[in-house]
Each structure stands twice: as C-alpha cells, then as structure tokens.
C-alpha cells in the first residue's frame, strides 16, 4: 500500500534524544496534525522524513522505498519548514521557477494567483520578506505542488488572523481539488482541530497518540460544574486534568460518560483538543 512508513526511527543530538524509536504510518490523501510541545521532536521527525538529516537508527520508507538519499522517493515529499533554505539573493518568482524545475508538478499560474491574493511581491528577495510573508510564500509553494506528501512545519508563523483564515480555506480547497496528504505541525491546535482528520502527538521523542481526531476527542469528555459535585462524579474515574475558576471546576476524564450517573448541575461536553493535548503532554 502507498504510504510513508516510519520504522523505529531514533535520533540523538549529543546527549539529547530527539526521537526515540518512533514508528508511525502516514497514509495517503489525509490531513494530519503533528502536535507536540517545544522540543518534542516534531521538526526532527520532519527533517528525517525529508532527508535533511539522517536517523541514527530505523528507516523511513515512501511507498515501500527507503527515502534516505533516494531522489525518486524524495520527489514525492515536500517539507515547508520554518527555516528559509533558499539562497538569500533569490527572488520569489525565481523560487517558483526552480520549484517547477525540480518537482515538475508545480502550478506556476496558481502560484502567481495566490501571490496576488495574499499581496505577496514576487519580485522581492526571499530573505527580505517579513516573517509573515516568508510563511505565505512557503505556503503558496506547498499548495501549488501536486505531490503525494506535503509537510508543513509551523505554516502560519507570523500570519495575521485574516491570512490564517485564508490559508485554512485554501488548504481545504486544494485538498478537495487534488487529494493528497498534508501533515501540519503547529502550536495553534484549536485552529486546526476542525481541519485535521488524524492526529500524531509526540512527547519527549516518542509518539504517544496516533489516531483519528474523532477517536481522540471521543476518548473522553469534559465534566463541568460546582467543584464538590464534579469531584464526587469523577471519583474512581481516570481524570487527566482539571481547571478551577472560583468554585467551579472542569475535569477532563478519559472514558465514556455514563449519562445515568450525571448529577444535576453537571454539564458533560466534548473534550477540547487543546486542553486534551495539554493534559497529555504535561510532564
């Protein structure tokens, strides 16, 4: 089956273990959220997949072929990273041109249209772009590439709310038009929670969750109400965290809510992805 297989990948930087035997599959035509705290190993994993750095152990296979140092496998993968890997003196329109040369399946016309939509000056040198516009030009590159696996590392860094909204909309349109896999690594969990189908959560170099968003959010519930009532209700249950506000308490519980046990004054709601993420990744 076509997919990216990450098999027991480990990576150390000196004494720091960035990735610890990570094994996960990235399936075709899905939108993933790759979540994790700062230093969890997200960017390291993306850099290993895209051949920018080498794993100390393990392997990454793209459609059954090892991707390390393999042009054919790498032609199916594109990583849009935080760092700018383009020459400082290269203009945006030159970057469009060379992306087409290297990848072939790059829609230059659409790139210019999106540049106009975002207000990006294509004659500007990439190093002279502001943080927001540097993200925009990289987003445009990613959206105009018709290849199976596109990785976006902090794609909305520096973008204002309007541009972020535009990006999410364009991403979904692009995905609907040409279904391919997008893996979005971001800290703005609530903003992408409605976009992503699957979630991979990394903590301290290990994958702690690899499931659909639906499955993740239905793995538990939030119970809110007066603190004593909530405490009584959650006694004996797996509570992964709680927030207090005056006398009110919200507890995050793993499991299925038994509606018959719900007392008056208690409210049961879905788990909030960001809150769940925080609870799962808190030390």
């Amino acid at each position: 089956m076509n997919k990216i297989e990450i098999r027991q990948v480990s990576k150390n930087f000196g004494d720091t273990t960035a990735l610890d035997k990570v094994s996960v599959d990235i399936l075709p035509e899905k939108i993933y959220g790759l979540l994790g705290r700062n230093g969890a190993g997200k960017s390291t994993l993306l850099n290993v997949i895209s051949n920018r750095i080498f794993a100390d152990n393990g392997a990454v296979l793209v459609d059954g072929v090892k991707s390390a140092e393999n042009d054919k496998a790498l032609s199916k993968v594109y990583l849009m990273s935080e760092k700018n890997y383009y020459p400082e003196d290269m203009k945006v329109k030159e970057i469009f041109k060379w992306t087409k040369e290297f990848y072939g399946n790059f829609d230059t016309e659409k790139a210019y249209q999106l540049s106009e939509l975002f207000g990006l000056n294509v004659k500007q040198r990439s190093s002279k772009l502001s943080t927001g516009y540097a993200s925009i030009f990289k987003i445009i590159l990613a959206l105009c590439l018709d290849i199976p696996y596109i990785f976006l590392d902090e794609p909305v860094l520096g973008l204002d709310a309007n541009h972020r909204e535009m990006f999410y909309k364009l991403l979904l349109e692009s995905y609907a038009e040409k279904p391919r896999t997008f893996v979005i690594s971001t800290h703005l969990i609530e903003e992408i929670s409605s976009l992503i189908e699957d979630v991979i959560i990394i903590k301290n170099g290990k994958v702690i969750k690899d499931c659909s968003s639906e499955e993740l959010l239905s793995s538990g519930y939030t119970v809110s109400g007066a603190a004593e009532v909530v405490d009584a209700f959650t006694k004996g249950k797996e509570v992964i965290g709680a927030d207090m506000l005056g006398g009110l308490k919200s507890a995050y519980v793993i499991g299925t809510a038994d509606k018959s046990q719900v007392l008056d004054g208690l409210e049961i709601t879905k788990l909030d992805m960001q809150k769940l993420f925080i609870q799962l990744t808190n030390s």
């Binding site: 895209s50 051949n51 920018r52 750095i53 080498f54 140092e69 393999n70 042009d71 054919k72 790498l74 032609s75 993968v77 594109y78 990583l79 760092k83 700018n84 890997y85 383009y86 020459p87 290269m90 060379w98 992306t99 040369e101 290297f102 990848y103």
Partner: protein, 258 residues
C-alpha cells in the same frame, strides 16, 4: 533523477558569475593593450601573461569551495539527494574548467590580434608552453599544441576545482572551534612551523619531496623531456582520490545553520 535540474541550476549560477568575470577581465585587458600602445617606444615587443590564465583556475577553486557549501540547503529543500548533488557538482566543475580554458585561449588570440592592429606586438606564453614547449609563443603553436594546451589547462582547472571542493567540505563539516583551529593551524603550520621543521629537523626533506611530487605529476621528470600526458593521467587520479574523499564528507553532511 534530479540531476538535470541540479546541473541546470549550478550552470546558471556559475555562468552568471563567469560572464561578469570575463566582462571585467576583457575590458581590463583591452585597456592595458591600449595603454601599452600609448607608451611603447618604437617597435618594442610586449610580452604579457593574461590575467585570465591565473584568474580562471582561481575562479575554479572558489567555485569548488562554494558549490556544496553555498547551495546544499537549496538542493535539500528541492528533494535532491547528496549523491545527485555531488554528481551534478562534479559535472558542473568539469564543464566550467573546460569552458574557461577555451575562453581564455580565445581571449589570448583576440588580444594578440588586437595588439597587431595597434602595432603592439602582444604575445602570450601560457604556462603549458613554459613547462612543455620551451616557452614558445601562442602564435607559434601547432594545432596539436593548441589541443594539448586546452586539455592541460582544463585538467589543471578541474584539479583546482576539486581542491576547492574538498577544502570547502572539510570546513563545512568542522565545528566552529574546529574551523578556527584548522584555519590558524594550517596558516601557522605552513608559514611558521614548516620552515622551522625544515631547517632544524628534516633538513629540507619535506620541500624536496613536495617538489619531486609536483614535478612527477606534471610530467617534468620524464627521461625524454617534459611530458604533458603524464599530467593528464595524474590529474585524473588525483581528482578521483579527492573526489572520493569529498563524497565521503558530503554523504552524511547536515545543513548548517545560517
């Protein structure tokens, strides 16, 4: 698979720089020619070695240094493996060396002709001629000499390009402290320690050995006289060794922080 766009990228960047280099150099040579015409006395003959003959190999060294260090991140961004980077980099260096050798030769001919028009006898004596043809002028070259001169100077430039490549990669792979140590150590070693060692310990043995090696690879120790074909063979061997070592340095190189 991505060797074609990689090579195209290298060549485009290279020829832009080469174009600027030759534009400046040619103008300077023409200016020098005109000045010589203005200041010549009678029918005196002016001999000069065009700057392109030394500038071009220097250009190749710089290209070798930059080719992987300056463009690695761009290549990785575009999904190019280090293997492909290396192959296209080597190809571009060879193309550059041969192209510049041909252009240098043409410039020498043109400048010579221009001198003729200005009644200034300008004749070039390339390094090839000085080493293997008793210093005859270009105007006295046979067709065979022209071909051998082009091959000789091209291989010399290729060799220097490869030297630049390995130098660039060694420094690229070193840590910050390593680079300082290597830079200071290399300079200090060559300028200070080596002469002291030669004077006190080795009694000039290192210098003699280096000289013998250079004479040997250039084919200047041949019993029947200087032989450029020895340089053809030895340059290919040296390039293969240096190229192999360069690939070993490149194959696991990680992109450096800006």
């Amino acid at each position: 698979m991505k060797i074609k766009p990689s090579l195209k990228f290298y060549l485009r960047n290279m020829f832009l720089a080469v174009g600027v280099y030759y534009a400046i150099t040619t103008v300077m040579l023409m200016v020098v020619t005109i000045i010589l015409n203005l200041f010549k006395v009678g029918n005196e003959e002016m001999n000069f070695s065009s700057s392109t003959e030394f500038g071009s190999p220097t250009f190749c060294i710089i290209w070798g240094i930059l080719i992987f260090t300056a463009y690695m991140k761009f290549m990785l961004q575009n999904g190019v493996s280090r293997k492909t980077m290396f192959m296209s980099g080597v190809l571009s260096t060879v193309i550059l060396a041969f192209a510049m050798s041909i252009i240098d030769f043409v410039i020498q001919i043109v400048i010579g002709k221009m001198g003729g028009l200005l009644n200034v006898s300008l004749t070039g004596r390339p390094a090839f001629s000085i080493l293997y043809r008793n210093g005859i002028f270009i105007s006295e070259f046979t067709f065979g000499d022209v071909v051998l001169n082009l091959i000789w100077s091209s291989l010399f430039a290729v060799f220097l390009g490869f030297l630049g490549m390995i130098s660039g990669l060694v420094f690229y792979r070193l840590s910050k402290i390593g680079r300082i140590i290597a830079g200071v150590g290399l300079g200090g070693g060559l300028v200070i320690l080596l002469p002291i060692a030669e004077e006190t310990i080795t009694n000039g043995a290192i210098s003699r050995a280096a000289k013998q090696f250079v004479l040997f690879v250039l084919g200047l120790q041949h019993s029947s006289g200087p032989n450029p074909y020895i340089w053809f063979a030895s340059s290919l061997v040296l390039c293969a060794v240096i190229g192999g070592l360069s690939y070993l340095l490149l194959r696991r190189a990680a992109p450096q922080k800006a």
